[in-house]
Symmetry: none
Subunit: 254 residues, 5 copies
């Protein structure tokens, strides 16, 4: 898959998502150009975003960051974010110079099979244009299921259906994360989840996911809600690319 080289450089990646406004109000995202500039300055590999933010920042992004174009969504205001709809197409993704597309499947949601079917079709269409698909797996919060087991099956399933990379959350018992990654048939990148207490906590998390076998991170809030997002990315990069310790990485934040 030709464009994958632009995302997985030397097999590792740091993608910063800014596709959150559909989920609520985020003060920092009032200025997508400022955040994107920070992402570039920090040396991230890619940015994950929607149509509007891409249009607003393309001149900055072009040739500097891989574009991961999110083409699924459900609004927070609808009350069911698990009901993901396709919001674009493979052809539009190509038109917007995407280097990969991202699609989310909510495992255990009543419409899971619909999302799964759309995902499968996307993979085939995207391959025609040489476009990798990043599958995101989340467990529907209203489902009463074994969240770890469902997450693990979901991660593997999207890999079996042709995801080039799977983005997943992590189990509440973090020690199981290694098992999840091992069962995946394609590289796994870690979602960041809610704001953590301190920059050190973020870096400890990055270290932990890399140690557990992830190939990188797709962390948003815990990057762009820092005082200096670019410094945070540089610190993360020390760990993701350089295998540095948390202490070593912390030196980038001084």
């Amino acid at each position: 898959m030709i464009r994958l080289k632009k995302i997985l450089k030397e097999g590792k990646t740091i993608i910063v998502p800014i596709d959150h406004p559909i989920e609520g109000y985020f003060r920092e995202l009032e200025e997508p150009r400022r955040i994107v500039q920070e992402i570039i300055d920090g040396g991230a590999d890619g940015v994950l975003l929607r149509r509007g933010s891409l249009a607003k920042t393309y001149d900055l992004v072009a040739g500097r960051l891989a574009i991961v174009y999110r083409i699924s969504g459900a609004t927070f205001t609808s009350g069911d974010m698990g009901d993901q709809r396709l919001t674009s197409s493979v052809e539009e993704s190509v038109r917007y110079d995407a280097d990969a597309i991202a699609y989310t499947v909510y495992v255990a949601h009543p419409k899971e099979n619909d999302m799964y079917e759309v995902f499968s079709r996307l993979v085939e269409e995207a391959e025609y244009y040489g476009l990798p698909v990043i599958g995101e797996v989340l467990v529907w919060e209203n489902a009463k299921v074994d969240a770890f087991e469902y997450l693990r099956i979901g991660v593997r399933t999207l890999g079996e259906e042709g995801a080039a990379i799977v983005k997943s959350g992590f189990p509440s018992d973090f020690s199981l994360y290694r098992d999840l990654v091992r069962y995946s048939i394609v590289p796994v990148i870690a979602a960041g989840g809610p704001k953590m207490d301190s920059p050190r906590k973020v870096l400890e998390f990055v270290k932990a996911v890399m140690d557990a076998g992830a190939v990188g991170t797709c962390i948003g809030r815990n990057v762009w809600q820092q005082e200096s997002p670019s410094k945070m990315i540089r610190a993360m990069k020390r760990i993701v690319r350089g295998g540095a310790s948390v202490d070593e990485a912390m030196s980038e934040l001084l």
Copy 2:
């Protein structure tokens, strides 16, 4: 987006909507040709209307006003105006020489994700024909939610999904309007809402939304229910284009 130049002249716009009959009886709209002539005489940039009124007035409108073709709707008589349906297509819009299409999403409505999905698809189809999409955001009145927060998220979401312009109402606490506009990723135009007490009130409203960062207005009733709609438009234009004060604008109404 090629046709946008015809709507946002020098970055500002006055659009006058006459798409109201689906919502009730409006005596003034018994004579769409007379109202359209007033809109032209007043020097507005565009008119927002449905299929029938367009057919009835095209010979007046052609080459004089940008055509904003409304292609969603739900009837007042149905009891649920939040259940917006697609009433036309991008191809028909092109056939009718539309310069933009308008589609409404009711935030917090049980079918919000359906509207959101249709909107996303429209944006892609419309771009193929070089047609900008104006997204209108309203909060479903039956929802028990924080209306300002939902409106703000809705405005940003339609921008993220590719609206060229977002038309929105305003929060009951008007002082928050500026925050809403700032969070938007695309230009915002202000809907006019119910009839105001006096022409001065209308102009004060126009002044307030422009000061808060809007790029124009999409005001119907408060224009064509005036004694002289064309004079009212000229007065509004003094503010929107010329940055005049309310007092200065009032001079157009004498």
Copy 3:
């Protein structure tokens, strides 16, 4: 045909073509934006141009001039300008906000039937999008035929195939022009041909074609090679719209 109103205002039209660079070097067309501004200032109804000049001037043209998009061509440098090829499509024309498309058929050219077939298909496709087609008729100079008779048949033929307007040259014996126009089934506009000796000659020509029944002109060189193209257009307009005499029209050039 909806967009036709923007070209034939009150049934008359002045279109200025700037689609000539394919035919040779024209010093004035080094600055398409300057020429387009003159065309606007002169108050012409439309401009006829190709893809590149349209892209270069759209912001000026939008909402001010009807766009007649030329979608056929053959290069001067190829040695056979009669071998017209289709250079765009109806869908692209819509995308570029064209108000009409122009296609040329060279009568008596060995490939005339090919051009005729393409023209017929274009008319059908264009009607689907509400786009009028302007058919241009020229007699291939290498053909040994009765030029007037061939021109007259060509003009009628494109009308029969659905041209909204036919643009044609004129017979060497100008007195026959009235016969040609009378035989046409749709409105005829007059091409301008090579540079004339003086501005008065141009206006006399305009007067003559209008007297003979044409509904307007599509004159390029004799407009933009004048000292003041905008003044020349204003003078032409006196005749075309106002029915003025040549002397009256000349007053615009002072």
Copy 4:
């Protein structure tokens, strides 16, 4: 059907499926390359798998095993595995060098007719490319029906619709299996079902289905959950190809 010769060698076949991760967690499938190597070493005829596992093992598989590409699926986590969706296309199957495609129909599922319709269409498309279709028949577990009768009708139906081979489970009363096979209009291969108590039980099962008229097996868990999958395959092959007794076959496991 051209490629069928690569699956049914001398009219018999051993296919090993590894398409299970969509149904749950299987420790052995953490290492698809190891399992595929065992399948090759054991001398199976083919492997049945999904997109991701195929991509992961293609270099091993190519020229050594027939590729049976599964192009239907429904997730365990969705709660309804009977709601099979199409996950690929015939053209992609060709692109991936499949020797056959596998599609599942759940008999008595509320959407059975949908699956049946897709299956019929697949057969026609696949024939165009010379690709055999293996139809898998399962009875939806929530249906209150005569499982044997429904299975028997299902097996025959897919044969009538053009399956080259039908894969089916077996009735709880095994003595009826012979009747089921006899009613089929195309060769039947036996699915393996849940893990059996011992290797001997597996071989007894293989012997029984072959005696009942099946042409081979499509057994997964009972192969790759053995200590030595390759030895198990060799033992099965003694029976399937050589007509050996269970005792004779057991000698391969020593």
Copy 5:
């Protein structure tokens, strides 16, 4: 045009072509990976190449150089390099992650109108995918024509048909080059032509074309036949981007 930003950085560009093997034997192109590495090290903006060399070097190029994919060609060995044929498609170009496509028209060639027609169609198809087209203009050497006038018309014509950039040779009377560039409606980049006598001569040429209004260069032989191609690119960049004098640029070659 979205991808154009990756080629015209700050409005200027250095593209190095290695698409020459179709024209003869070039010892340096025995090692495309080495040459591409030099192009990267020198800091060029893009590389222009054909299918095979792209496949051979993609892992180096990805994310480091804009890919200009040549999709026309005629062989030297055929005896008529002016008879350019289409060698790929827009869709394949997208699949190969091209940032632009390059197509050549030979002016005054008997098949010029064919090339012109293909070019026009390519522009429209490419725009659908957001892919800029670089038009190359050459005058057919067998034609007895005014080479400068034909080149100038050809350059303008491809711009009119929608080229994003035109690549052209230069007139034998170099003083006319400025006139040619001025007549173009889109940015012009300079082809390099045959090997020059010394590195200084190359830099003098680069200085001259930039002074005449070109936005960059597309020079092959005079780059990769230097002792150190990367140093030569750095020297050229001093002029193209930095506006340096030839003497200043020469310092990069020490």
